[in-house]
């Protein structure tokens, strides 16, 4: 559709959503088949299609944006949408944090006989005392050691908090028109993000080899790895977003007034930062 200058941009018919649906279909259908014993072929094909879609779709959006096809109202639509997308992500993490609190505060103590559950404990799990971190009365996954909070996790907290500062510093640079500050700040943020992910990977190795702390280590292992794992995944996604923004900044995109992509990535980055603080406090520390 042709576009009248100044009016709300309505995109022409597009192939990308369909490509995305096909990619998701192959990736998730292939994953399901893989879990049933098939090969990973379809899953990988789906992942490739999905990556092609992301390049194509976001590429289109970036071209449209650079061609000044988006007016202020479109910009505002993007802002609202990103905000509520992040909120939906918050709710996804809430499910896992909820599971953690429920096990630690309610169902775990009940297994140990708390409340009116003395007979449950006596008949089903005699002698079991619930102490978090726990892999349950069945000692599922075998004896393990707890992941300490004040080694790598504390360092990672500092790294993420620092990256929150550098991304804000980059934003200041963009707003006052200093491209050097923008690029340097973004580069530091992305670097800190990937260092964080590297440390997490190292920590996982340490947990598996030295602590016998695995995904299979009862409720502690389940909540530990699912929460930190999904968080690590989100940090990776956020770092990739910031990397794209960095490359666009190097290419000369964005102006001091209009730079929604930068802000969206920055919001997302602060979101993973805040989730990490929750993780550090409730998974590692307390």
């Amino acid at each position: 559709m042709s576009h009248e200058q100044g009016s709300y941009y309505l995109p022409a018919p597009s192939y990308w959503p369909l490509v995305g649906s096909i990619g998701l279909f192959f990736m998730l259908g292939g994953f399901a088949a893989y879990l049933g014993g098939a090969s990973m072929t379809f899953m990988l094909i789906g992942a490739v299609i999905l990556i092609v879609m992301l390049f194509g779709w976001f590429g289109t959006v970036i071209r449209e944006s650079e061609a000044s096809m988006y007016n202020a109202q479109v910009d505002l639509s993007f802002r609202w949408a990103m905000m509520w997308f992040i909120f939906s992500e918050v709710m996804f993490f809430a499910a896992f944090f909820g599971a953690l609190f429920y096990a630690r505060q309610l169902s775990g103590p009940w297994l140990g006989g708390a409340g009116n559950n003395a007979m449950t404990n006596e008949l089903l799990w005699p002698g079991f005392e619930f102490l978090w971190p726990s892999n349950g009365p069945g000692n599922v996954g075998g004896d393990f050691k707890v992941m300490g909070a004040w080694g790598i996790p504390a360092m990672n907290t500092l790294i993420l908090l620092t990256s929150g500062v550098t991304v804000t510093w980059a934003h200041w640079g963009l707003k006052k028109g200093s491209r050097t500050q923008l690029i340097l700040g973004l580069f530091l943020t992305v670097a800190l993000g990937f260092i964080f992910v590297g440390f997490q990977a190292y920590e996982y190795g340490h947990a598996y080899t030295d602590l016998n702390l695995k995904l299979t280590t009862g409720m502690y292992g389940s909540t530990f790895f699912m929460l930190t794992g999904f968080h690590g995944l989100h940090v990776s996604v956020g770092a990739i977003m910031l990397l794209v923004v960095l490359m666009r900044a190097i290419k000369g995109h964005f102006t001091a007034e209009k730079h929604f992509a930068f802000e969206a990535a920055a919001w997302y980055w602060h979101f993973v930062d805040v989730v990490w603080l929750g993780l550090f406090i409730f998974v590692y520390w307390l």
Binding site: S2, S7, Y8, L10, P11, P13, S14, Y15, W16, P17, L18, S21, I22, L24, F25, L28, G29, F31, A32, L35, G36, W57, Q73, S77, W80, A81, W84, F85, F87, S88, M91, F92, A94, A95, F96, G98, A99, Y102, S107, G108, L111, G115, N116, L124, F130, S134, N135, G136, P137, G138, V140, G141, L215, T216, G218, M219, G221, S222, F225, M226
Partner: protein
């Protein structure tokens, strides 16, 4: 809610856009970014799923026609109940409402389209792929999911190869819903015509606005719950395994934290549709517009803090039972505000009973029955008796069939002339209504008696004393099912042709959508109308 719309001439706007009409061929529908096309896709997909889910229900009623095992083995019966629910909830009711939102919200707020048209296409086109994954399980070794749509562990984890397909289908449906909901929120906050203040928005827009927030908050939690199922089944986590320090009841909490708002996701847009229709045919303004808005918001808020009333018999602490009971019965207050509003709107109105009004009046009566049985179920000690019985089945079918589905059908009759430019056949519409409203009561009302007499839900066979009411319920079921073939016929016939509809369509209709031509032009409100 304003009727003082400056006659913005959308016909002119349309003329300017003549060269931007719909492209032809199949790819129009696959690649479209137009809210009306996408709305149509959603609605047709929902109709298809309604018929598929209905066919499964016919299988259920066939087996329950008389005691004993006649046609279907018990495992396949469980597959039927599970898939019937999943298909109806996620394939029929929810997409139908999103279809209404796509067609109506931009027209009702005076927007040129949805705020994010490409993402709008993606929200829809995920659905057929998701249901391909889900329905393909019928043809797998071990068959389709059979542990109930609520997917409780540990039973669901004993399912065959279908488990990951079901879980990933749910993930896809969740993505679709979240993107659809975000689109609706953004359209409403950012695309309203000048002068369309929040408290001038039609109630259908309001109810969808609030529903969209419920979706964005609840669907990710569901995604989390089924992800835990996936890792428990395939990666040896212990979320729902007591030996590992987890708890199967944890799943129920997480699931119903999603599941209860989901109930309101399926009924709030129905409230919206009925709140549009009743004032039109009573030829009066809605009795209390702002109280409807606040009641909707109150219901939405309460929906997040009452989830465990689905789990009264699971062994919660007494304090929990009491809290969830009191919180639950509080929902009766804002719901009553709504029912009194509809009644008061009709009071001394110049009422006529065209087909949409018939369905809406039936909605008010029959949804209220479902609401009252809901109150009964909300009382914890009474629920100990009703739990998992046919009383529960009767309750939620009154809410979902004579509630949500009736409102959807009412809305289709109400807006179909605007969408197609043709009037439906009023005689056939009324016939469809009377056949449906009688048969649906024959179908579901006896299930109250069955439940109170002790018949459990989700069983293929039953004791002999339940035979009579099951017989009648099945008769009603077959009749209700067949009546919907008539609905299909009426809809297709109206799409093909019929008496031309006027722009206003209904004498008492109020709102922006009635100011544009019938059928609504491909692009409406390219320049925003001014609302005074």
């Amino acid at each position: 809610m304003s009727s003082d719309i400056t006659a913005n001439d959308t016909h002119h706007a349309h003329d300017e856009h003549h060269d931007h009409g719909p492209p032809s061929g199949l790819m129009r529908w696959v690649l479209t970014t137009n809210h009306k096309d996408i709305g149509t896709l959603y609605l047709l997909f929902a109709l298809l799923m309604l018929l598929v889910g209905g066919a499964l229900a016919m299988g259920i009623r066939l087996e329950l026609f008389e005691p004993g095992l006649q046609f279907i083995n018990p495992d396949f019966f469980n597959q039927l109940t599970t898939m019937h629910a999943l298909i109806m909830v996620f394939g029929a009711i929810m997409p139908a409402f999103v279809g209404f939102a796509n067609w109506q919200v931009p027209m009702m707020v005076g927007a040129p389209d949805m705020a994010l048209p490409r993402m709008n296409n993606w929200s829809f086109w995920i659905l057929p792929f998701a249901f391909t994954l889900l329905i393909s399980t019928f043809f797998m070794e071990g068959g389709a999911p059979a542990a109930g749509w609520t997917m409780y562990p540990p039973l669901v984890l004993q399912g065959a190869g279908n488990v990951p397909f079901m879980i990933f289908a749910v993930h896809l449906l969740g993505m679709s819903s979240i993107m659809g909901a975000i689109n609706i929120i953004v359209t409403i906050v950012n695309m309203r015509a000048p002068g369309m203040t929040l408290l001038k928005m039609p109630l259908f827009v309001w109810t969808w606005f609030i529903t969209a927030f419920l979706l964005v908050a609840a669907m990710p939690v569901f995604a989390g719950a089924v992800t835990m199922l996936l890792t428990d089944r395939f990666f040896e986590t212990s979320f729902f395994n007591a030996a590992g320090g987890g708890d199967p009841v944890l799943y129920q909490h997480v699931f119903w934290f999603f599941g209860h708002p989901e109930v309101y996701i399926m009924i709030l847009p129905a409230f919206g549709i009925v709140s549009q229709i009743i004032p039109t045919f009573a030829r009066k303004k809605l009795f209390g517009y702002s109280s409807m808005v606040y009641a909707t918001a109150a219901i939405a808020f309460l929906s997040f803090i009452v989830w465990a009333h689905h789990m009264f018999t699971v062994g919660m602490p007494v304090a929990g039972e009491l809290y969830f009971m009191y919180a639950t019965v509080m929902i009766a207050v804002p719901t009553a505000v709504k029912v009194f509003n509809w009644t008061a709107t009709m009071w001394r109105g110049a009422m006529t009973f065209e087909t949409p009004m018939l369905w809406s009046v039936a909605f008010v009566f029959l949804f209220t029955i479902g609401g009252f049985t809901g109150l009964m179920l909300g009382v914890a000690p009474a629920d100990f008796q009703y739990h998992d019985s046919y009383f529960v089945v009767a309750h939620f079918h009154y809410v979902l069939v004579t509630g949500a589905l009736f409102a959807i059908i009412a809305g289709v009759y109400y807006w179909l002339p605007k969408w197609t430019g043709n009037m439906y056949n009023e005689k056939l519409g009324k016939l469809h209504f009377w056949l449906s409203v009688i048969s649906v009561n024959v179908l579901f009302f006896p299930q109250h008696f069955l439940g109170l007499a002790g018949m459990p839900r989700r069983i293929p066979d039953y004791a002999i004393q339940f035979a009579d009411w099951n017989f009648w319920s099945s008769i009603g079921g077959f009749a209700f099912g067949l009546s919907q073939i008539l609905f299909l016929f009426i809809v297709l016939k109206t799409i093909k042709g019929g008496e031309k509809a006027t722009d206003e369509v209904w004498e008492g209709a109020d709102g922006l959508e009635w100011t544009v031509a019938s059928p609504a032009p491909y692009h409406t409100f390219a320049t925003a109308p001014e609302i005074k």
